[in-house]
Amino acid sequence: MDWTRRDFLKASAAASALAALGSRSALAAEGPPQADTWVKSVCRYCGTGCGLYVGVKGGRVVAVQGDKENHNAGFLCLKGFLLPQIMRAPDRNLHPQIRKGDKLVRASWDEAMDLVARRFKEAIAAHGPDAVAFYGSGQGLTEETYVANKLFKAGIRTNNVDGNPRLCMASAVGGYVTTYGKDEPMGCYEDVDAADVFLLVGSNTAEAHPIIFRRIVERKRKDKNVKVVVLDPRRTPTARIADLHLSFVPGTDLAILNAMAHVLLAEGMVDEPFIAANVAFGEGAEANKALADYKAFLAGYEPAKVAALAGCRAEDIVTAARWFGEKGKASMSMWTMGLNQRTKGVWANNLVHNLHLVTGKIGLPGSTPFSLTGQPNACGGVRDGGALSHLLPYGRLVANEKHRAEMERLWNVPAGTIAPKPGLATIDMFRAMEEGKVKVLYVMCTNPGQSLPNVDRYRKAMRAPGAFVVVSEAFHPTRTSELADVVLPAALWAEKEGVYGCAERRYQLLEAAVKPMGEARPDFQILCDLARRLGHGGLVPFQGPEDAWAEILALSKGTAYDFAGMSRARLKASHGLLWPLPTPDSPGTKRRYVKGADPLVPADAPGPVLFYGRPDKRAVVWMRPQKPPEEVPDAEYPLWYTTGRVIEQWHTGTMTRNCPELRQANYESVAQLHPEDAKALGVKTGDAVRLASRRGAQQFRVRVSDGERAGLVFVHMHDADRMCNKLTIDAVDPISRQPEFKICAVKAEKA
């Protein structure tokens, strides 16, 4: 089979059209699907959370079909259609393995788990509970992540629980929390159908979230007055549907967003009654300013001045602002890694929220600030579930004494059990391992040996003398499992049961469709086993994930996330439920903070929205100045370097690179260069180029594209053999601790 990108696109197009007709994938590995049973589930890939059915025949997954009753209306992207192929991939991890010298050798479950438990006990006894850590994933099921979080924070008594959402969503969390007091978007996918203006910032929606992009395209097709504004240095496939693509110098988007606000205020497009009733203004960490202060702050962001800094046209900034702010139009913003993976990521998020708050374009159909999510359960399992080092479940904070006491009561553990100090965030965790402070690391369902920025530094840390790494993973080898001391075979997707929560606060049940391959076990079972071996079995007295879910419901009760009415039976019967959903008869909440739609807003609330996440019930417009990225090009490293997705592959490729069709399409990461840069380097498409940053170097083949901005190199992020993260910078946002994957400086030479 020899597929080109064109072939891939045609197959995707055909699959989507056939899905719309209710036909099943014509690309299933074993020909047209003839399943005996169809089991309701959710796509394993991005955070869109597309509903699907898993077709099973003879105990094997043979096909999938989109769930027409779910938000995706039966549509799936090609990656989703090809999910059956990952289940029996040749590199499925089927047996526990233990490192003996330089090799990993097969072991029994008992042998492996005894060793893991012994190393945990030894490290804790000798160095205290903070000598161990858990690094989880936005791909784990909610119940799995919950068991890990409870075991480490309430059993072992360390808050060293973090995960890969720190790499992708932490700044979005920081943005929502600082602006509204609580995390997660207030809107829903249906808002796409009502929006008149789409502001897509740092999001290649077409490739990273194709089903959401399809919905935007459909909205634009139905109403030719709909405008799409794309803010992105690169002219991505998303930008090609834009009515206005605003390309800019990387790292200047904070100034552009402030300049848009400048125009909104200067041209009277603000909603002053909304502001008076619902908005506070702030600077630094204090919300103690006023609209007049904000106006004074924005005076420094006149469009012409910003355009000169950002390398764009002032009139484009003005146009973007006018379209966004036009009275009577619904405006929806969407963003993802371009904003989040930055050392000023939280600030950049705040500035998008500002546009909605000053215009009052929020909480109305089609008007909402909507952060897109990269993983299927980053929201539900990790963010909402509080499985980051500074969090406790459902909006509670480690550093908050009342929250700790509440969790100790709910978990039935003695007062003072939960350590008051937040644990280590991802980069800090791996640096602590480098320094010998973290001795034992348990990695579940993720691939930090490939996905961390400045990755070679942390690969070395994972193999440092005295370090002990446990990797629970469905595939082996990965660039992480190859570094492990113990590799545990984890059950994969349709082999286990649990809940995923996607970007629109929609929780959905994935039902087990087949038995795990080989000796693989669900992570839920593995973690409960570890808890028992560590003497904390009393914390996890669960017969299965359903029991844990019942406990999780109780933890959410009374919080701003309240989904206490979301029983397992309701999840099973539904095609996803959106929280808040506090009672068994609650229909769920499409638009949060909105009176009449959100059951947590009192019926006698004074206005149509109530931002109840903050004590003063107001959302905050933050004054966030333009600041440059951590590293900018200079004479030695003259090019901008950025990384990202392509539609055919996903994350570190452990799944998509197992699909024959996808292996033929962008399997190899390439360096995309603007024609001017290619000419200056003397390279053409297909030539090799060596890129080097201050941290590392890697050779890539060149793809010349006029979609790239001159002076910027774009490299795909999925290739295990050509790791883009050898070059990326591990500087982090001081608020969210999220690394600045998206921007650093490199030099290039023809190889």
């Binding site: 696109l9 056939l18 006029d706 979609g707």
Partner: protein, 90 residues
């Protein structure tokens, strides 16, 4: 510069029972590849062309000239703005 190629998945809705007749006529349309149908009034197809505007023009023309076509609905839009590695960049 490299010419852009847009690839779209489309559902073509026809009058009830007209699917086969419309499909036969579409088979001669440049850029259209038929992928399947529901046996009655909907056709799944892949369209390849220079840009979205060209697809729009095709939609308008088919709606104007084929009385049995009721609508053309995109289900997917992608573009192939790059040659494959090994091809010539400019």
């Amino acid at each position: 510069m490299i010419p852009l190629t847009v690839v779209a998945g489309v559902v073509i809705e026809t009058l009830p029972g007209a699917q086969a007749r419309v499909a036969a006529r579409l088979a001669g349309e440049p850029g259209i590849e038929l992928a399947g149908g529901d046996g009655d009034r909907r056709i799944a197809a892949v369209w390849t062309g220079a840009d979205g505007a060209e697809l729009e023009r095709l939609s308008e023309r088919l709606l104007a000239t084929d009385a049995e076509v009721l609508g053309i609905f995109p289900t997917f839009v992608g573009d192939d703005g790059f040659p494959d590695p090994g091809g010539d960049g400019d």
